[in-house]
């Protein structure tokens, strides 16, 4: 169990580092942070007195020494106090984030499962039939698909399937005439709105899983126990999945955690293009409307979510790989 504790300590340090970063970033900006932000906000035109007050609070325009501000900031973050959003005034940042979190989880989760599933199976087959035409053709094709920028493939899909052929809806996560509930009409509307965003993420991210799985699988297929299994006369499907893929899955799980951040980035672009009301859409809108408290709150929440997911993966890893427990 000491492995889990070590990992937990690492995630705590990482969380502390990101809070600290978040605190110092606006304060390290060239010039006086508060007045620069204020000037930017004023440049936008309307500025409410409440906004000024919220900004003053968030950016330490008070005269307290930095260290006092820092501990105050820490305390606020840890108690879930992220300040007040200036663009959704007077909604607290945490409430705004809550509306987006669920959509990002649904979108990313679906895309991740689909691309991981298909990519891994294709990778296993590619490694098994190494040197076949399929194995020669698939890597370059998927490397190319993986090179497509998210922010390019998403608008193209939008144009082709939403505007030109008019098959799928162009924006939002569900038909806004419906109210969110567990009825079939609502759920089907959610699924319909999800197809294009999920498709754009899957197209780009599938190659990573395929190549990763293929390379691990090739290494594993040269192990003695695979030769032994073949020599025993086990069926090829059994050797491929029961002996090869099963062991190749384990290292892939680690990269699963590592690539969460990457896939999240893709999901942010996709959300923006499809106006999908998740964290990415909120993030880019907060940047555009200079809503700094919301932007920083989102960065915090996204980071915490990724750290938490990685911790879960570590726990899973210990359960799946008994060798780790002995360390």
């Amino acid at each position: 169990m000491s492995y889990i504790i070590r990992r937990a300590i690492f995630y705590l340090i990482a969380a502390w580092a990101s809070i600290t970063l978040n605190f110092f970033l606006p304060r390290m900006m060239p010039g006086d942070p508060g007045s620069v932000l204020m000037a930017k906000l004023r440049g936008q035109g309307d500025i409410r007195p409440e906004t000024i007050e919220a900004m003053t609070k968030a950016y330490g325009l008070s005269d307290d020494p930095l260290i006092i501000q820092y501990f105050g900031y820490m305390r606020n973050i840890l108690s879930g106090e992220f300040g007040v959003s200036t663009s959704w005034f007077p909604a607290p940042v945490i409430d705004v984030i809550r509306t987006g979190l669920i959509w990002t989880i649904i979108l990313m989760g679906t895309a991740l499962l689909i691309s991981f599933g298909i990519g891994s199976v294709l990778g296993v087959i590619g490694a098994w039939k190494r040197g076949s035409w399929m194995d020669n053709v698939t890597p370059p094709v998927f490397v190319f698909l993986g090179s497509l920028p998210y922010f390019w493939i998403a608008p193209l899909l939008l144009f082709a399937f939403a505007f030109h052929f008019n098959i799928f809806p162009a924006r939002h996560a569900y038909n806004t005439d419906l109210s969110p509930n567990f009825s079939w009409s609502f759920i089907s509307s959610v699924i319909g709105h999800m197809i294009l965003p999920v498709l754009s993420i899957v197209i780009v991210s599938i190659g990573g899983w395929l190549l990763g799985m293929r390379n691990t699988m090739i290494a594993i297929l040269s192990e003695d126990y695979v030769t032994m299994a073949e020599a025993k006369g086990l069926g090829s499907r059994r050797v491929m999945f029961g002996y090869g893929a099963r062991n190749a899955l384990l290292p892939t799980l680690t990269s699963f955690g590592m690539s969460l951040g990457f896939i999240l980035s893709g999901s942010l672009f996709t959300e923006m293009v499809f106006a999908y009301p998740g964290l990415g859409y909120l993030l880019i809108n907060s940047v555009r409307s200079l809503d700094y408290p919301l932007m920083q709150g989102l960065f915090m929440m996204i980071t915490f979510a990724v750290l938490f997911a990685n911790f879960i993966i570590d726990i899973l890893y210990v359960r799946l790989d008994p060798r780790i427990r002995q360390h």
Binding site: P149, F163, I263
Partner: protein, 339 residues
């Protein structure tokens, strides 16, 4: 962003870094390098990748002198489809898309190569120090590396870019700060395994200094990883710069692929069906990323014999009469020079 390629790269590189067959004596540098380059040139994937990359480098260097129009000037009607006058059509404000694409290559590739170089140097410094020093230094540095790796990249980029004044060097700075950890991690583990080798032990015995051992003994033996890491970083920088600009976080008056896409999106190119404003810049980003990824893929195949495709194995076999047992295990080949 070429994120999944990076993932693949990471998988591939960790693959290279751990079970690399032990090289007990340091192979003479020149010979090894020419061997690797030679093998790379035979590799079809590397050839395709190199062709694409060289093509775009030429476009970036020579293109701005050859383009028919000034990419910042309004030279036609808005959103006109491709024609003899405007090969790639015009954008939402009547500027020539072909000129924008060609001139945009310069900013994108410059960002890529500058960030790639910075990131590679920082990656070597931190990764090798951590791997060679071990102990406390390594604990500290690898925690740092892992923290930078685990904090989600794009949100961090967005927050950083939002606070800094928009401009070319701000973006370079932001991309370098977020991008160095990847290479460090791979180089750290490779340094750790190489420093256990006999040739390092003998260098220590001879009395060589730490710095000399790191730079003259260990570094040349992992050049393939350094080069692959450099290409990966260039890719990352080009994609991330375009992404930030697409989000409106760059300097919008600068002509680059990301800004072209930003303006296309802003002028609702897709709503009016002006696909020609979107295709060239996006496809260019994808092709350059594809080119670098293919070179890296080939480097991986060449330096990690396990991944060499059967076709290559067969072509080596044809030159040399040898019998290989048909099995799934990695074929062991003895080349003439006993390398």
């Amino acid at each position: 962003m070429s994120s999944s390629v990076n993932t693949a790269l990471e998988n591939a590189q960790t693959e290279v870094s751990t079970p690399e067959p032990p090289k007990n004596q340091p192979v003479r540098k020149a010979k090894r390098a020419s061997g690797v380059v030679g093998l790379l040139l035979q590799n079809r994937k590397a050839a395709v990748g190199a062709f694409i990359v060289v093509f775009y480098v030429l476009v970036a260097v020579l293109g701005p002198y050859l383009v028919p129009y000034d990419p910042t000037q309004i030279v036609g009607r808005r959103h006109t489809p491709p024609s003899w006058e405007h090969w790639f059509g015009t954008d939402g404000s009547g500027k020539d898309v072909l000129s924008q694409t060609v001139v945009g290559a310069r900013s994108s590739l410059a960002t890529g190569f500058i960030v790639g170089s910075i990131v590679t140097v920082v990656g070597i410094l931190i990764g090798m120090t951590a791997g060679y020093m071990r102990g406390r230094v390594d604990d500290f540095l690898s925690t740092l590396i892992n923290i930078v790796l685990i904090i989600p990249g794009l949100p961090l980029l967005i927050v950083l870019a939002a606070f800094l004044p928009a401009g070319f060097w701000s973006i370079i700075f932001v991309l370098s700060v977020t991008g160095w950890a990847w290479g460090s991690r791979v180089l750290r583990s490779q340094t750790m395994s190489l420093r256990e080798k006999d040739f390092v032990a003998s260098a220590v015995t001879v009395g060589e200094g730490k710095l000399r051992i790191m730079l003259r003994e260990i570094l040349p033996n992992m050049m393939s990883i350094v080069v692959a890491g450099f290409f990966g970083a260039v890719n990352y920088a080009i994609g991330a710069q375009a992404g930030l600009e697409f989000l409106g976080l760059g300097n919008p008056s600068n002509v680059s692929w990301g800004n072209n896409l930003y303006w296309a999106q802003n002028n609702s190119a897709m709503l009016v069906g002006a696909w020609w404003t979107l295709i060239p810049s996006g496809l260019s980003i994808a092709l350059v990323a594809f080119g670098f990824s293919m070179i890296n893929y080939a480097i991986d195949e060449v330096t990690n014999p396990r991944l060499r495709s059967q076709r290559q194995t067969a072509s080596i076999l044809k030159k040399q009469p040898a019998k290989v047992r048909r099995s799934r295990a990695t074929p062991v080949l003895m080349e003439g020079n006993g390398d």
